[in-house]
Symmetry: C2
Subunit: 222 residues, 2 copies
């Protein structure tokens, strides 16, 4: 499949891009608001993969162009840019394309990190509200530590939870997720169930902050 | 130590009572609003332990009496009974006693299970607000599947997260938690960090509901 990572120059975008390029044969397209930045990062990822003996073409484009070329569009942008990013690319999406939402609202105070739940209910719901008709939305990859994902030497052995109201789209993303070695994708139901998943991300930071020897945590349901 | 499990006749109370009686030498006291029920359950737990070759005294009392006899009081009652339960036992608590809050507000709709966050911020915070001066509060054991805990043949291999504003009390509960074989206790910071922990419980139910072969789930941070 052709996967566009909008915000693919950022941390979670980098991790997903490298993992998909390394572990699968899906076409990986980096999107950014600045096309030069997208191209530069794509080259950087190619170099990283090349250093591991994997010759892979990774391309970089402006977000709209990246979305236009892809079947699966991952919104690896900060939560407050999600709605306008979907608006920007809306007319480049074809019926049957899938939008994937990994973003999480987090606020920090003196005690720790907390889930900043948006008025819509969740960031995934914001994407669903903004998505053009015929384009399905899947919430996924919320609880992955970006640095660990981007370190191809790091073993995963963790889960990602999927929410979607369209079972076919969910199955497509499940397949993409499980293409990443060590990542298990579990079904968490419909998009209405996204808040509890998004809230795990600040929790992971709190646990890592308060326990020596734990960092870049993920979660395993067992 | 002397541990009172108020609501110790209910599911999570039963699991903790059996595990502590089975794996540790702490004194286990069952509390209930109805003393006969507490005594009957305590006997039932003794019989279960006896069938496994463990001869243990488990006692049962009215909640107030149970709290009076204990150093650690676990509020294994439904979230809407937490505040009045603390009120009922308040004058039986001594300075230095520790209240432990495992309860979680959950609501169900057509999509699944959701965190029902109380106005105070979390159930743990409700307990902290209601606790008499000199009595510390620790949030713990929120994300344990009761049936799995109560089945002494079931392996755990999962984590419980602790929140408290009093580090000594947190350390006491950490020690109690890790006395249970297969349970790892992790520090998640202060009580203000409780909501994200409590929200994991409905998530565990959603994941178990939507994935064949997964049930009575716990979580492991790794």
């Amino acid at each position: 499949m052709r996967i566009a990572l909008l915000g693919g120059t950022g941390d979670i975008g980098e991790g997903l891009a490298l993992r998909w390029a390394y572990h699968t044969n899906h076409e990986v397209i980096i999107g950014s608001r600045e096309p030069e930045k997208a191209r530069a990062k794509a080259e950087e990822y190619e170099t990283e993969l090349d250093s591991r003996g994997v010759e892979r073409k990774v391309t970089g484009f402006k977000n709209e162009m990246a979305a236009d070329r892809a079947d699966i569009v991952v919104l690896a942008v900060p939560p407050y840019h999600v709605a306008d990013t979907v608006e920007t690319i809306a007319d480049k999406l074809d019926e049957g394309d899938v939008l994937v939402s990994p973003a999480v609202g987090i606020k920090r105070d003196d005690d720790g990190f907390h889930y900043h739940r948006p008025g819509a209910g969740s960031v995934t719901e914001i994407v669903a509200d903004a998505a053009p008709e015929g384009v399905s939305v899947v919430g996924a990859f919320h609880n992955l530590a970006a640095a660990r994902l981007a370190d191809l030497d790091a073993e995963l052995g963790i889960d990602t939870l999927l929410v979607a109201d369209d079972e076919d789209a969910k199955e497509t993303v499940r397949m993409l997720a499980e293409g990443i070695e060590g990542l298990r994708a579990l079904d968490a139901g419909g998009i209405a169930n996204a808040p509890e998943i998004e809230a795990v991300t600040p929790l992971l930071i709190n646990v890592a902050t308060n326990n020596e020897g734990l960092h870049d945590l993920g979660v395993r349901f067992q």
